[in-house]
Symmetry: C2
Subunit: 129 residues, 2 copies
Protein backbone atom coordinates (compact mmCIF):
# COMPACT_ATOMS: atom_id res chain seq x y z
CA UNK A 1 0.00 0.00 0.00
CA UNK A 2 1.46 3.31 -1.07
CA UNK A 3 1.27 6.45 0.99
CA UNK A 4 -1.53 8.00 -1.06
CA UNK A 5 -3.71 4.94 -0.54
CA UNK A 6 -3.05 4.94 3.19
CA UNK A 7 -3.91 8.63 3.26
CA UNK A 8 -7.20 7.97 1.53
CA UNK A 9 -7.99 4.96 3.71
CA UNK A 10 -7.46 6.99 6.86
CA UNK A 11 -8.90 10.29 5.69
CA UNK A 12 -5.70 12.28 5.93
CA UNK A 13 -2.95 13.54 3.61
CA UNK A 14 0.39 12.16 2.49
CA UNK A 15 2.05 15.22 4.00
CA UNK A 16 0.59 14.42 7.39
CA UNK A 17 1.60 10.76 7.20
CA UNK A 18 5.22 11.69 6.44
CA UNK A 19 5.04 14.15 9.28
CA UNK A 20 3.82 11.40 11.63
CA UNK A 21 6.68 9.17 10.55
CA UNK A 22 9.18 11.95 11.12
CA UNK A 23 7.64 12.60 14.53
CA UNK A 24 7.99 8.96 15.55
CA UNK A 25 4.25 8.23 15.56
CA UNK A 26 4.49 5.84 12.64
CA UNK A 27 7.40 3.41 12.27
CA UNK A 28 9.51 4.07 9.17
CA UNK A 29 7.71 2.27 6.37
CA UNK A 30 9.30 -0.42 4.26
CA UNK A 31 10.37 0.79 0.85
CA UNK A 32 9.63 -0.62 -2.59
CA UNK A 33 12.41 -0.94 -5.16
CA UNK A 34 11.43 2.51 -6.39
CA UNK A 35 11.94 4.06 -2.98
CA UNK A 36 8.20 4.50 -2.42
CA UNK A 37 6.92 3.80 1.07
CA UNK A 38 5.12 0.45 1.30
CA UNK A 39 2.63 0.18 4.14
CA UNK A 40 1.07 -2.95 5.56
CA UNK A 41 -2.61 -3.04 6.49
CA UNK A 42 -2.04 -2.50 10.18
CA UNK A 43 -0.79 1.00 9.40
CA UNK A 44 -4.46 1.87 8.92
CA UNK A 45 -5.20 0.83 12.50
CA UNK A 46 -2.24 2.76 13.77
CA UNK A 47 -3.30 5.94 12.07
CA UNK A 48 -6.83 5.32 13.35
CA UNK A 49 -5.45 5.10 16.87
CA UNK A 50 -3.68 8.42 16.41
CA UNK A 51 -6.95 10.00 15.29
CA UNK A 52 -8.90 8.53 18.19
CA UNK A 53 -6.23 9.78 20.56
CA UNK A 54 -6.56 13.25 19.11
CA UNK A 55 -10.33 13.07 19.41
CA UNK A 56 -9.77 12.24 23.07
CA UNK A 57 -7.86 15.48 23.42
CA UNK A 58 -4.38 13.99 23.64
CA UNK A 59 -1.43 15.71 22.01
CA UNK A 60 0.64 13.93 19.39
CA UNK A 61 3.46 13.79 21.95
CA UNK A 62 1.23 11.93 24.40
CA UNK A 63 -0.04 9.58 21.71
CA UNK A 64 3.57 8.93 20.79
CA UNK A 65 4.32 7.99 24.41
CA UNK A 66 1.51 5.44 24.43
CA UNK A 67 2.66 4.01 21.13
CA UNK A 68 6.22 3.66 22.36
CA UNK A 69 5.11 1.90 25.55
CA UNK A 70 3.16 -0.52 23.43
CA UNK A 71 6.19 -1.07 21.21
CA UNK A 72 8.25 -2.02 24.25
CA UNK A 73 5.83 -4.91 24.70
CA UNK A 74 4.05 -3.36 27.66
CA UNK A 75 0.37 -2.57 28.02
CA UNK A 76 -0.06 1.17 28.19
CA UNK A 77 -3.43 0.94 29.97
CA UNK A 78 -2.46 2.53 33.26
CA UNK A 79 -0.47 5.22 31.49
CA UNK A 80 -3.48 5.95 29.30
CA UNK A 81 -5.67 6.19 32.38
CA UNK A 82 -3.25 8.67 33.93
CA UNK A 83 -3.13 10.75 30.76
CA UNK A 84 -6.91 10.83 30.53
CA UNK A 85 -7.19 11.85 34.19
CA UNK A 86 -4.65 14.58 33.70
CA UNK A 87 -6.41 15.79 30.58
CA UNK A 88 -9.68 15.83 32.51
CA UNK A 89 -8.22 18.08 35.17
CA UNK A 90 -6.73 20.38 32.56
CA UNK A 91 -10.05 20.56 30.78
CA UNK A 92 -11.91 21.43 33.96
CA UNK A 93 -9.47 24.25 34.65
CA UNK A 94 -9.70 25.45 31.07
CA UNK A 95 -13.50 25.41 31.11
CA UNK A 96 -13.62 27.30 34.41
CA UNK A 97 -11.28 29.91 32.97
CA UNK A 98 -13.35 30.35 29.86
CA UNK A 99 -16.56 30.64 31.87
CA UNK A 100 -15.00 33.38 33.97
CA UNK A 101 -13.79 35.15 30.85
CA UNK A 102 -17.26 34.80 29.37
CA UNK A 103 -18.68 36.54 32.44
CA UNK A 104 -16.23 39.41 32.11
CA UNK A 105 -16.83 39.90 28.42
CA UNK A 106 -20.55 39.54 28.82
CA UNK A 107 -20.58 42.42 31.30
CA UNK A 108 -18.37 44.61 29.14
CA UNK A 109 -20.58 43.86 26.17
CA UNK A 110 -23.72 44.76 28.09
CA UNK A 111 -22.17 48.07 29.09
CA UNK A 112 -21.22 48.74 25.51
CA UNK A 113 -24.81 48.15 24.44
CA UNK A 114 -25.70 51.67 25.49
CA UNK A 115 -23.19 53.61 23.47
CA UNK A 116 -22.54 57.18 24.54
CA UNK A 117 -19.44 58.07 22.59
CA UNK A 118 -19.55 61.62 23.98
CA UNK A 119 -18.65 60.33 27.39
CA UNK A 120 -15.42 58.87 26.03
CA UNK A 121 -12.78 61.13 27.39
CA UNK A 122 -9.96 62.09 25.11
CA UNK A 123 -7.29 60.62 27.32
CA UNK A 124 -8.58 57.10 27.44
CA UNK A 125 -8.82 54.77 24.50
CA UNK A 126 -12.24 53.35 25.15
CA UNK A 127 -14.33 53.53 28.28
CA UNK A 128 -15.72 50.07 27.65
CA UNK A 129 -12.36 48.48 28.22
Amino acid sequence: MRIGQLAEATGTTTKTLRFYEESGLLPPAERMASGYRDYTDDAVGRVGFIHRGQAAGLTLAQIGQILRIREHGQTPCSHVRDLLGERLRELDAQIAELLALRETISQLHAQAAEPEPDTCSADEVCRYI
Copy 2:
Protein backbone atom coordinates in the same frame (compact mmCIF):
# COMPACT_ATOMS: atom_id res chain seq x y z
CA MET B 1 10.81 57.44 31.41
CA ARG B 2 13.05 54.69 30.11
CA ILE B 3 11.77 51.35 28.87
CA GLY B 4 12.74 49.48 32.05
CA GLN B 5 10.74 51.89 34.17
CA LEU B 6 7.72 51.61 31.90
CA ALA B 7 8.05 47.82 32.07
CA GLU B 8 8.06 47.93 35.85
CA ALA B 9 5.19 50.42 36.00
CA THR B 10 3.05 48.19 33.82
CA GLY B 11 4.13 44.82 35.11
CA THR B 12 5.68 43.57 31.91
CA THR B 13 9.14 43.23 30.35
CA THR B 14 11.25 45.44 28.12
CA LYS B 15 11.24 42.68 25.54
CA THR B 16 7.47 42.74 25.39
CA LEU B 17 7.31 46.54 25.13
CA ARG B 18 9.69 46.53 22.17
CA PHE B 19 7.61 43.77 20.65
CA TYR B 20 4.45 45.89 21.08
CA GLU B 21 6.15 48.82 19.38
CA GLU B 22 7.27 46.63 16.52
CA SER B 23 3.73 45.27 16.23
CA GLY B 24 2.24 48.75 16.01
CA LEU B 25 0.51 48.61 19.38
CA LEU B 26 2.70 51.32 20.86
CA PRO B 27 3.77 54.36 18.84
CA PRO B 28 7.54 54.55 18.28
CA ALA B 29 8.88 56.22 21.41
CA GLU B 30 10.89 59.43 21.37
CA ARG B 31 14.60 58.88 21.81
CA MET B 32 17.04 60.47 24.22
CA ALA B 33 20.41 61.69 22.98
CA SER B 34 21.79 58.28 23.89
CA GLY B 35 19.30 56.50 21.67
CA TYR B 36 17.33 55.18 24.64
CA ARG B 37 13.55 55.19 24.29
CA ASP B 38 11.93 58.01 26.26
CA TYR B 39 8.31 57.37 27.20
CA THR B 40 5.75 59.91 28.38
CA ASP B 41 3.38 59.07 31.22
CA ASP B 42 0.46 58.24 28.98
CA ALA B 43 2.38 55.21 27.70
CA VAL B 44 1.45 53.61 31.02
CA GLY B 45 -2.24 54.04 30.21
CA ARG B 46 -1.74 52.69 26.74
CA VAL B 47 -0.01 49.55 27.98
CA GLY B 48 -2.75 49.25 30.59
CA PHE B 49 -5.33 49.34 27.83
CA ILE B 50 -3.52 46.59 25.99
CA HIS B 51 -3.55 44.46 29.12
CA ARG B 52 -7.25 45.11 29.77
CA GLY B 53 -7.97 44.20 26.17
CA GLN B 54 -6.11 40.94 26.62
CA ALA B 55 -7.98 40.25 29.83
CA ALA B 56 -11.16 40.74 27.80
CA GLY B 57 -10.00 37.98 25.50
CA LEU B 58 -9.06 40.16 22.54
CA THR B 59 -6.04 39.34 20.42
CA LEU B 60 -3.22 41.85 20.02
CA ALA B 61 -4.35 42.32 16.41
CA GLN B 62 -7.84 43.33 17.56
CA ILE B 63 -6.46 45.64 20.24
CA GLY B 64 -4.27 47.19 17.56
CA GLN B 65 -7.36 47.83 15.43
CA ILE B 66 -9.08 49.68 18.27
CA LEU B 67 -5.97 51.72 18.94
CA ARG B 68 -5.66 52.70 15.30
CA ILE B 69 -9.31 53.77 15.12
CA ARG B 70 -8.72 55.96 18.14
CA GLU B 71 -5.63 57.42 16.53
CA HIS B 72 -7.63 58.43 13.52
CA GLY B 73 -9.63 60.61 15.85
CA GLN B 74 -12.68 58.36 15.87
CA THR B 75 -14.38 56.72 18.84
CA PRO B 76 -13.93 52.98 18.62
CA CYS B 77 -16.97 52.26 20.83
CA SER B 78 -19.16 50.52 18.29
CA HIS B 79 -16.23 48.57 16.93
CA VAL B 80 -15.36 47.48 20.45
CA ARG B 81 -18.94 46.38 20.98
CA ASP B 82 -18.81 44.31 17.80
CA LEU B 83 -15.52 42.73 18.80
CA LEU B 84 -16.85 41.83 22.23
CA GLY B 85 -20.00 40.33 20.71
CA GLU B 86 -17.95 38.30 18.31
CA ARG B 87 -15.66 37.13 21.09
CA LEU B 88 -18.69 36.14 23.12
CA ARG B 89 -19.98 33.92 20.33
CA GLU B 90 -16.56 32.36 19.85
CA LEU B 91 -16.29 31.71 23.56
CA ASP B 92 -19.69 30.03 23.69
CA ALA B 93 -18.70 27.75 20.84
CA GLN B 94 -15.36 27.01 22.46
CA ILE B 95 -16.95 26.23 25.82
CA ALA B 96 -19.51 23.93 24.20
CA GLU B 97 -16.71 22.10 22.40
CA LEU B 98 -14.70 21.65 25.57
CA LEU B 99 -17.73 20.41 27.48
CA ALA B 100 -18.37 17.81 24.79
CA LEU B 101 -14.72 16.78 24.87
CA ARG B 102 -14.89 16.58 28.65
CA GLU B 103 -17.83 14.18 28.33
CA THR B 104 -15.91 11.96 25.91
CA ILE B 105 -12.79 11.87 28.02
CA SER B 106 -14.75 11.37 31.20
CA GLN B 107 -16.34 8.24 29.75
CA LEU B 108 -13.04 6.89 28.47
CA HIS B 109 -11.48 7.55 31.84
CA ALA B 110 -14.29 5.78 33.67
CA GLN B 111 -13.81 2.74 31.41
CA ALA B 112 -10.11 2.79 32.07
CA ALA B 113 -10.77 2.80 35.81
CA GLU B 114 -11.32 -0.97 35.71
CA PRO B 115 -8.07 -2.05 34.14
CA GLU B 116 -8.01 -5.48 32.61
CA PRO B 117 -4.80 -5.48 30.64
CA ASP B 118 -5.32 -9.11 29.69
CA THR B 119 -8.22 -8.16 27.49
CA CYS B 120 -5.97 -5.88 25.45
CA SER B 121 -5.56 -7.75 22.22
CA ALA B 122 -2.16 -7.75 20.65
CA ASP B 123 -3.32 -6.11 17.47
CA GLU B 124 -4.73 -2.99 19.00
CA VAL B 125 -2.75 -0.37 20.83
CA CYS B 126 -5.07 0.22 23.74
CA ARG B 127 -8.66 -0.83 24.13
CA TYR B 128 -9.44 2.33 26.08
CA ILE B 129 -8.88 4.46 23.05
